[in-house]
Symmetry: D3
Subunit: 322 residues, 6 copies
């Protein structure tokens, strides 16, 4: 088996995207795409030249097959995916009321991925990776999903695989109390934690990035906390110090969704390259900025050469090239 | 309160209809419509000139609102509908592999309508109707839905409201055993039973229409059984006798879905008009044939003048009228 | 008969909306919607929790039926509508050259609604309302429409029903002279007049809101004049005084059409709630601002809870809610 | 000025074609095309290699400009067209209930073309043609259109230009009595009359093609009557004799509209080539059969080489050519 | 490296499919899909449970990337594909004039795949396969493609890999003489030849399947010739004998394209399963019949369970399953 | 033959425009339009009231026919166009990554127009024009196209027809060296040269408009150089002097493509009207600004009355006109 750079897992839904910017009840047509934080990161890393495995329990129906085809087509290793006919594949409807006023409606309660159990984990597969990527969405899906996350953490720990954790708070899926307890328990085990500032505040009760990071590192000062600050850039803190890394001058915002996942892919790519935190966060900021300037969660994820252009300051939104 | 001719209730889903005749996983675009047997009958009866009430528990979300708007727009009384934010409104995806090879995929487990309870029944509303229309789909949605159906039956019985029952067997929703027991229990209470031949065979174990009808009427010979025979027409049996009523020469089949509901609307209209069974079944056959020759469950339901043309033998599929 | 809060009537056209922002001659596809100032107000009031009746003479054709289905679906009482086969239902094509450069093309000359006559008025229906809403479009459609407007005014006066009048100047439908004479005659009878500033200037020859209002109130100081000032807000003047009520900080303008009708619905809702003029105009400003920030004349009309949020200053254009 | 083979004139509407086979009130999207019998014939003749002029009074609006662009693009001489801002350009909606059950809805009352007057005729232009083509639609549009038709006939007669007349009965536009009187008056002046059998029966009261033709030729035996018999072919009668010319074995009917205009183009092409009536009718039958086997009034009109293939019996509906 | 069941290579174009059944010049919208005989067979085999590798030289542009994503998504091994920026990825436009009258237009002259050279071959990769699948399209693309085909044959021969050859005559790409010479030279090397009857006739000059097969086997009686006979089924001849295997009763033809590739996938699957020729051809006939009854070259390719149903005679085109 | 104001020639491609703002590999649907600098200018001049001839060698396929129909429909004289079946008609795909980040992909290598030769030139046709318009695209298509350009120049010179030259540098079609040499050679022959500033800098090595113009006029001071400066306006220099003419206050940029061609049409119109350079450049600036504020290369080209409004400062982007 080829060793993979990163392994991740979670739920990727079929996304039904309205063709019209109207309240959903007035929309006539929808387009089928996919939506899932972990697969966004997996595809982002593939495009940046890394080898990535993503797995899930998929509905044994047209929508589960579509999700598999899409992610496999992107070059992600999907060999550990399994199908179930015990539940339908989950759905997600977007509602665009204005360019920036967006809602989502889920059909994901008791969906196929909620049936993931620790038995779905291939220990050898995880052991062979350099990094395990986890989000705070998966434990919110079901009790067995929560167990699966902690079982995977144990496997990673056991084999010296570093853990990257992105809290991805989803309050439509569980209560604040459940979320806080579980996310903190995962964060405690993680080597790298990548919250947004609001998520960090929610988890720690602190306001300033420095305090948020310190709180998350309190029990284990060896870990690194990287905080997303939106268009302002990002911040890190580890045992050697801390710093703010400013964002790229914002191009026109075309689609804000997926920026956090793009940032995560950029930072993880930096980690895999052995970059300094300043470099890695700058890479994360670059990917996030590019994703924000293009449509689609996945479609706008840049290749390595585009990111390098951006890092060299050459990424201009140009006129027609012909 | 205006007295209504017919009251019915049940689940009407948002139907997502593929724009392409392909396996669903390859379809890019879907159109939003509605799908529900009881609302089909309600709209069909409205179009034939009757006053009809339909109610349901709807999702307090854009899809529940869309269903309400659509059915209310058709002129059905929806004043007894209620909304819930405890469950999303149910969905239905159609898959067209060829003009006649069609699948459906449900997102209706624990949907909004499954939360209907006997408390949702307005006794005065039911008491004021001439007929109560029930299908065998509603009791398959949840235990509380089943109770609601039987509570409605009791109210109808109590106030002398006649009951029309269309079994509408849905084996994706419950086991054969559960279905059989419950549908027979409802059939026992109904004044008019409208099974398809295959449904009648399933319920009674008999093969021939005469035997099926006799079995369903065994405990209560006062009831009428009307059996749908597809393009061949239909059959009735009551205490006064029985007869086959032949179908209309089939026009080109454009869309087979909804024909049974159209037939039911036609027969119920005949009952309300005080027609003989031969007349009422001929009316049902006419509506069914017209629905089969047009697209859409609801869109193809004819107005009274179109049915009268058909009954007079004047309904030709003509060339361009200009 | 249930008493209604508001009764209104007028022409609602089928709107054919181009799918492409191009000169109309280069557009390939159109979407069917509806367009009509009075039905916008009626639907807006329904959504704010009021009971409203709207009636019209509709084409006895698919387009007339579509208009009826749409408005009835929204919960407006349409029981007084009638159909005619003497004229086709009117059409309206929009042309979008740029986001703010929009033209309309009418096919409404001698359309179905122009055949409205005083005989279409149900005096009891009007008498049962708290308010009668009129626009300056209806009298521009035909002589018999003009007579119908004045007959309705007489009925309202006779039964103590207050009259709200929105001039809605449409110079594509009649000459400046005709318009001025007729609109002033209606304004004279109205209890509440809601012109835009440019309309008020056209009718009175005055420039400043104070002078415009005073001129319109000259013969009858008991009436209230409310002047729309676009994004700046609005102004009122009645016998007790006058005031400017500033608008809400403008969100991104998504679609300017329908804002005036939304404002009217908000103000009328305030009147029905017995609010002060400051409160009612603030409510109108809120509804107008929300409509401007969403697509569609009708689709963007807010529910009461959304308006309350706006009035409490909580209506932010947020990021994705998930 | 180049001499043209044929000159024709009349109304070409913008056709709004539903994207869905549903009752029009349920259709969401329409595509813009054109529809007009005279321009169909003009384009058909162009494609067969002849030089043709078509003129009309067009709306000075996007729809009038679209019609001009479309017809001019096909290579028809449109130099004699004029625009008016006194009336909008006419529209036509198609409604497809099933593949063969089609309705049309007109917005053509008092449209731009109805304002055509004899002053729009360029005598030199008509005098320079070999044939003048007229239909029975134009005189139904308005009194001035009727005068224009008769003025054109007079000019043609005066300059020895032969007249081809296709009755094209449109009972949505005028009464049977008006239609009959006027069409017979035009037929009397025509050198070649091309009715469908039902039109010929309507005009003469006779049933059989022979009798219909004889009746139309009664006053002037020098004229030729050519009767369309649908898929069966066609029939002619002139002073030298008469004959049935059988149709081509019918391919699958894809779209029946426009077949009559295609037939007319084929026959006129035969006349211009100096063919025998058997040859010319066979050519007309071929064009009609090809049009019936393809979508679109205009789009399916064949080029000369395709017609020649058909006439040689080589026009097979083949499988994929690659 | 995993051993693969089958390796194939060739050109897969981006297919631009018209949304309207009209002459291409009148079509407004196109949908992007893929088209390629070898990838059809590769995907068909994957869906039947085999491991397959497909490779090509792809354009280093969005269209080349799309083709890779699509085929990789289906589960085909694409690890040997390479990209070139020396030529654009090839395109294919379909034109549908009627359901059965279809044309194709190529933009494939000097496309990316024409730059394939023997250096693109990975000998170990081919050596590891059980079968090498070749078509007669690849050698038609360029001289270097032709050399590549023969170099691959040599590698296969050298390592005992059996060769399956489907002539796939494309006379739009080369002259009859070139085609005949080259295809016969490949056929000579192949172990299994799968021509259509017309292709076999073209290559051998014989008419009857028996004679065609005998001629192709003349120099090497050890090879098997399998001839496609359309809806009638197929025929084989090898050293042990020959037989006709009848086709499946034809369902409604929905889309004839791709049937030959489906047949090839079915037969190759039979070979890999060690079935008798009767069994393998029956399997091929089944896959072909299923493909013909569904839309899309690739989308309609069945999974193994669907084929088994068909082979057991249970594949009925059913009504709605719900 | 009518004398034409302007004759031009070159390649007009079929443009396939994505319906979604996504990387091209993720786009599902494309719309067919046309794209070509010379035909843009020709159509722009037609719309401004001039008579224009455009010719080309077109593919004898649906795409070539579409291009002819489109341009002829606009009123351009296309009588000198010819068709070839030796090469397909060229294609152009647009890719919109964001509103201002646009790429193009060509399928134009060895397309039909590259087969133009001097034999395609009709000397009498060119001689009859007042101006010959040339771009630097045509000589980049092939050696024979280059010869054709110089042969046309010679004809124009011979008959005293003035030459307008727009360099239109396309570095995807030829090397910088080839481009520079050839474009300078054409510029040397031209009476009016209309480069963008970047093009002028490329050709002369100078930076400032004054220097660029002087360099281009060095050998022949009688010629005029007009330099496009984008939204800033334009600059001219001739033997009488030089000046900057400022641009119109920029409306919202809707689509930047085609602005240069619109500017050229405006300036040429000014030349034909005998305007001063200040007037002509102001006219060019006006057309360019209007084109930038509307969608489509061709669709946004204004009529004369719209330009006159703009020149009078009355062209406001207004609200809805109704």
């Amino acid at each position: 088996m080829n060793q993979l750079d990163v392994v991740t897992f979670g739920e990727t839904m079929v996304l039904l995207n309205p063709e019209e910017m109207l309240p959903l009840e007035y929309v006539h047509r929808f387009q089928k795409q996919i939506g899932g934080a972990e697969s966004n990161v997996a595809i982002g890393l593939c495009r940046l030249g890394h080898s990535v495995g993503w797995f899930s329990r998929l509905g044994d129906d047209p929508f589960g097959r579509f999700v598999l085809r899409f992610i496999r087509g992107e070059g992600v290793d999907t060999s550990r995916c399994s199908f179930t006919d015990q539940a339908p594949h989950s759905l997600l409807f977007k509602e665009k009321l204005s360019p920036t006023n967006i809602n989502v409606y889920y059909y994901r309660k008791q969906g196929a991925t909620s049936l993931l159990t620790p038995d779905d984990l291939d220990e050898e597969y995880i052991a062979g990776a350099k990094l395990l990527h986890l989000t705070g969405i998966t434990p919110a899906l079901s009790a067995s999903c929560r167990e699966t996350v902690f079982a995977a953490i144990e496997m990673a720990k056991c084999h010296g695989v570093k853990i990257v954790f992105d809290p991805n708070l989803r309050l439509k899926l569980w209560s604040e109390q459940e979320a806080k307890t579980t996310l903190l328990a995962i964060a405690e085990q993680a080597d790298y934690i990548l919250p947004g500032l609001d998520e960090g505040q929610f988890l720690t009760g602190e306001q300033m990035p420095e305090k948020v990071a310190a709180a998350l590192r309190q029990k284990d000062p060896m870990k690194t906390v990287i905080i997303k600050l939106g268009s302002k850039g990002s911040f890190y803190q580890d045992q050697t110090g801390s710093n703010y890394v400013s964002g790229f001058p914002a191009p026109q915002v075309v689609d804000p969704i997926g920026a956090g996942d793009g940032f995560a892919a950029g930072v993880i790519s930096g980690i895999l390259r052995g970059e300094s935190w300043e470099q890695a966060l700058r890479r994360g900021n670059a990917v996030g900025a590019i994703v924000v300037g293009a449509n689609g969660d996945v479609e706008g994820l840049p290749t390595e050469s585009v990111v390098e252009q951006m890092l060299r300051g050459e990424h201009a939104t140009q006129d027609v090239k012909r």
